[in-house]
């Protein structure tokens, strides 16, 4: 920055009314200065490329997931069609199927081996954040088997990829966006001070806040053009159905959070820049602030949360479930008797055929195992909730976690939507087993009509109201934090000394 450049403020502000003219001229002037700086094209081009790559990665992930789920559902439909057709070829006089027979008439075969697939479709805005979706399976195969085995299912992935994380928009916006803000803003005032032009600027009949506002506005326009404009265009290009109910408002929430987050970092940059003795010191302080807020606080919060509320041992769970299953099997006769006693509406015939009795016993034992294993499994959810409570408290000083919470919440990949899906799957598992048990205990074979009444899993759509309710606190906290940062920036501007 040169003295001649800064002295143009004087020319611009001489005729009254100075204030209204000044801002426009100041903006134009800042823009000319920025464009001449070599850093701007490099930093913005790099950021734009990364945004595009993130859009590609996010939509690729969503595409693969949709294709996978579509294949699974098509396979299920084809299998049931084939079984229905097979039913028609079996004469009414045919002998009943054997105990283990792969016979479409056997409720045990259909219930325990075929089952249903429960799927979780990506939310409309899933492109925004891969989040936890690479760790959590988007489908479960529901049979009459034990619940724990049903849920023990992971997506395949190289663990180093999971450890490193994907280059999705949530990462780009939460982690890299502050760096772009810093690169454009770190020398805001300090460089003028170093060049000696700050005293000249301060001597003009324009307030320092106004000059800073002009500097920040130009830079914010560039940052938002990329972080909001380019992202919004990207969402449209990626085929996000913004017309779907609620999707547009969720998208607005996400982009609003990004605007707030960018404003937070601009305020931090100004607050640091106002007080920094040199541009170098300002850059360093900003980098340390970024490191502390974006990396250290989340990492430390997670470490403390895990230390305070460690999940129970998954390895110990194995021994426990084996013991439970051995006990249930050993008492199979009692278990079955009690099961039938508890469900008198099911037991129609006086005695069951041996095949039906075997099936009923196996189903009753599995139900018994699930009932016994439910409390220990709940302990995992409560540990996770307690951990989340600690992380939520830490979020108050970690704006990156807040913006990430909004983006992943809106994208439906923050884990909460998945847990609701898992719980829905568990409920469906009960329904499925109930339906199969009814046929087994009534010693009834499946016919075409029975096939129509077998329960099917309804893939849940994203619950817009619940999502908004979940992300609203994070959004509000982010807004508060941003306001606080802006106040801090204004306060620190008041004490700015023009001469180092």
């Amino acid at each position: 920055m040169t003295a001649t450049a800064s002295s143009s403020y004087a020319a611009a502000t001489s005729p009254p009314p100075a204030r209204t003219v000044a801002l426009r001229v100041l903006l134009a002037h800042e823009w000319r200065l920025l464009v001449r700086d070599r850093l701007l094209p490099v930093a913005t081009a790099l950021f734009a490329v990364v945004v595009v790559l993130a859009l590609v990665a996010g939509s690729g992930f969503v595409r693969v997931q949709r294709a996978t789920l579509a294949t699974l559902r098509a396979a299920e439909a084809a299998q049931y069609d084939a079984m229905r057709r097979a039913l028609d070829t079996i004469p009414a006089t045919a002998a009943p199927p054997e105990r283990f027979a792969r016979d479409p008439r056997s409720p045990f075969h259909v219930g325990a081996r075929i089952g249903r697939v429960a799927t979780l479709d990506p939310a409309p805005l899933a492109v925004l954040a891969i989040g936890q979706a690479d760790l959590q399976s988007a489908y479960f195969t529901v049979t009459t088997g034990a619940r724990q085995a049903m849920l023990m299912k992971d997506e395949l992935e190289n663990p180093v990829n999971l450890l490193t994380g994907r280059l999705d928009l949530a990462f780009v916006l939460a982690v890299l966006l502050p760096l772009l803000v810093g690169a454009l803003t770190y020398g805001l005032l300090a460089s003028e001070r170093e060049a000696g032009t700050l005293a000249l600027v301060a001597a003009q009949p324009v307030s320092l806040a106004r000059i800073v506002a002009a500097k920040v506005l130009v830079r914010a326009a560039i940052v938002l053009a990329l972080a909001v404009g380019l992202v919004a265009v990207g969402l449209v290009v990626a085929g996000v159905p913004l017309g779907a109910p609620g999707t547009a408002s969720l998208a607005a929430f996400a982009l609003g959070a990004v605007v707030l987050y960018a404003a937070f970092w601009f305020a931090i940059a100004v607050a640091i820049g106002a007080r920094a003795p040199s541009a170098a010191a300002g850059a360093l302080t900003y980098a340390v602030a970024w490191l502390a807020l974006v990396i250290v606080v989340p990492v430390a919060a997670n470490a403390i949360a895990q230390q305070r509320h460690p999940a129970p041992s998954r390895t110990a769970l194995i021994a426990q479930s084996r013991a439970v299953s051995a006990a249930a099997n050993a008492r199979a006769d009692t278990v079955l008797r009690r099961f039938l006693y508890d469900h008198p509406e099911l037991a129609r015939g006086a005695t069951l055929s041996s095949g039906a009795e075997f099936a009923a016993r196996s189903l009753a034992v599995n139900a018994e195992i699930d009932a016994a294993m439910a409390p220990p499994l709940v302990a995992f959810d409560s540990a996770l909730a307690a951990q989340q409570a600690i992380v939520d408290r830490a979020r108050v000083v970690a704006p990156s976690l807040l913006v990430q919470a909004v983006l992943e919440g809106v994208a439906g990949t923050d884990g909460a939507r998945w847990r609701a899906f898992r719980d829905g799957t568990v409920a469906f598992h009960e329904r499925w087993r109930g339906a199969i048990v009814a046929h087994v205990v009534a010693d009834r074979l499946l016919d075409r009509r029975a096939y129509e009444t077998l329960p099917a899993f309804d893939a849940p759509a994203q619950d817009v109201a619940a999502t908004l309710a979940r992300v609203r606190p994070a959004f509000a906290a982010l807004a508060l934090l941003t306001v606080a940062a802006i106040v801090a920036a204004l306060l620190s501007l008041r004490g700015v000394r023009a001469i180092a």
Partner: protein, 470 residues
């Protein structure tokens, strides 16, 4: 002369309150990471040893039953916690911790600890490795960015050169002085690291050489950064530019590059989805592949072959249990399919890791990270080694069950019940982790790249300083 420069540089660095503060913060984080790491190693090692003993006890406590039922009951393999995972837990939170070894099937590893953590886990695990890989380079940037550019800014560079101080000596002095300032943090860090792994009950003869090589790798990494920042400092027009450029490089290389390379690696060798993988295995088992017949057809051929071999007309006339033989043959057919698909999966992961290591040419942290996880025993190669060992044990166990059935279940097949002594006839599962040589071989590219970085950056620093102009 050199000693004077080193002393001046060192004193000046430590006079800076911010440097002292940064050093304290770094050591505090490192200590926290090591305490937590040590605690996890203790807990996890105890949990997994107990679980392994419990699953073995369950296996031995089976009543008299058909050997094939026992094979279906199976046993679990629990991945042991490596002692050096205290320093770098690598893929441990993201790779399953246990697998069920049962008849007919090679199962995936289940239960990734990260599933029982909040989303904040994805920002990174607080480990010594993370602290050293990410934060120490930042400290190096802070210490060294102004080393030469700062002297130029204040005009003292001209004076120094006018005094006849050789540029080379100046450069060496700056590097050693900064290194000495860094040493004030790194020496206690090394002591803390050593203290963290002592008394955890590991095999010292296995762990110590690895820890030493690990320390050497980190040293090469720090040297690379120090020399790189000096190059920037010597060439930048001002201390401000030197700092801005170094900070920019640090962010691009340590923050952006790893995720960018994940996308690159996945593009080069896409990971199959779990359902596509399972379907490919199922299809090969049912329909056969590359001239191998499907299971149903193969089993018919097998029956004909056995009847011909024993010169009998029906399986009832066989002097052995055909059910046992058939189970064994089914196992053999399945293993061919599993070997084929798992080899493909692992080789895809290996390609991804190779892409990562080679990207170390641009981002040295990727080369270091591969070595760090490898030496700590927490990389994909170690996970694979354990998974393969567990699979070999599964095959031994199932083969023992099928063999007993073949010999003793004549005429009874699935009604035959084996004596519980059979369960003890299969020894317990033991696992020997890969040797240091194997690990270094696995990561030879990363090692060459990291060494190359340290060498080239140091030579670059010497050249840049030699040509320095006031």
């Amino acid at each position: 002369m050199l000693a004077t420069i080193v002393r001046k540089e060192f004193t000046e660095q430590w006079r800076d309150g911010r440097v002292r503060l940064a050093a304290i913060a770094l050591l505090a984080l490192l200590t926290g990471a090591l305490v937590l790491g040590r605690q996890s190693t203790r807990t996890l090692a105890a949990e997994r040893t107990a679980a392994a003993a419990a699953t073995r006890a369950d296996w031995l406590a089976q009543p008299a039953k058909n050997p094939h039922s026992a094979a279906h009951y199976g046993i679990y393999a629990f991945k042991p916690r490596a002692t050096l995972a205290t320093l770098d837990d690598g893929v441990d939170p993201y790779a399953g911790v246990l697998t069920w070894l049962e008849a007919h099937k090679r199962n995936e590893f289940a239960y990734r600890p990260a599933q029982d953590a909040t989303g904040a886990q994805r920002a990174g695990t607080l480990t010594a490795a993370m602290t050293l890989q990410l934060l120490v380079p930042l400290l190096i940037v802070v210490l060294a960015a102004g080393a030469i550019a700062g002297e130029r800014d204040t005009g003292t560079l001209r004076q120094l050169l006018a005094l006849g101080v050789p540029a080379r000596t100046l450069g060496a002095g700056k590097m050693l002085g900064t290194a000495a300032a860094l040493g004030v943090i790194l020496v206690p860090a090394a002591v803390l690291g050593a203290a963290a792994i002592v008394g955890l009950g590991g095999d010292a003869a296995y762990d110590l050489p690895r820890a030493a090589v690990l320390a050497g790798c980190y040293l090469l990494y720090f040297i690379s950064w120090l020399a790189l920042v000096l190059v920037v400092s010597a060439r930048a027009p001002s201390a401000r530019t030197a700092l801005a450029v170094s900070l920019g490089v640090w962010m691009l290389v340590t923050v952006l590059a790893p995720r960018l390379v994940t996308e690159l690696a996945r593009a080069v060798a896409p990971t199959p989805t779990a359902s596509a993988f399972a379907k490919a295995v199922r299809d090969d088992l049912e329909k056969g592949f590359d001239g191998h017949a499907g299971q149903a057809e193969s089993m018919k051929a097998f029956e004909r072959r056995i009847l011909a071999q024993y010169r009998v007309d029906s399986v009832a006339q066989l002097p052995v249990s055909f059910a046992g033989l058939a189970l064994d043959e089914g196992e053999r057919l399945g293993n061919v399919v599993y070997d084929r698909h798992f080899a493909r999966l692992w080789s895809g992961f290996a390609t991804q890791e190779r892409v990562r290591a080679l990207s170390g040419v641009v981002a040295p942290v990727l080369a270091l990270r591969a070595l760090s996880m490898g030496l700590a025993g927490t990389d994909v190669a170690h996970h694979r080694a354990f998974a393969d060992a567990a699979e070999r044990y599964r095959r031994t166990l199932v083969a023992a069950m099928n063999g007993d059935m073949t010999r003793h279940a004549v005429g009874e097949d699935f009604d035959y019940k084996a004596d519980p002594a059979l369960w003890a006839a299969v020894g317990p599962f033991t696992y020997e982790a890969p040797s240091l040589g194997a690990t270094l071989g696995e990561h030879r590219e990363a090692l060459v790249i990291l060494g190359g970085w340290a060498l080239v950056a140091t030579l670059g620093a010497i050249a840049a300083v030699a040509r320095v102009r006031p």
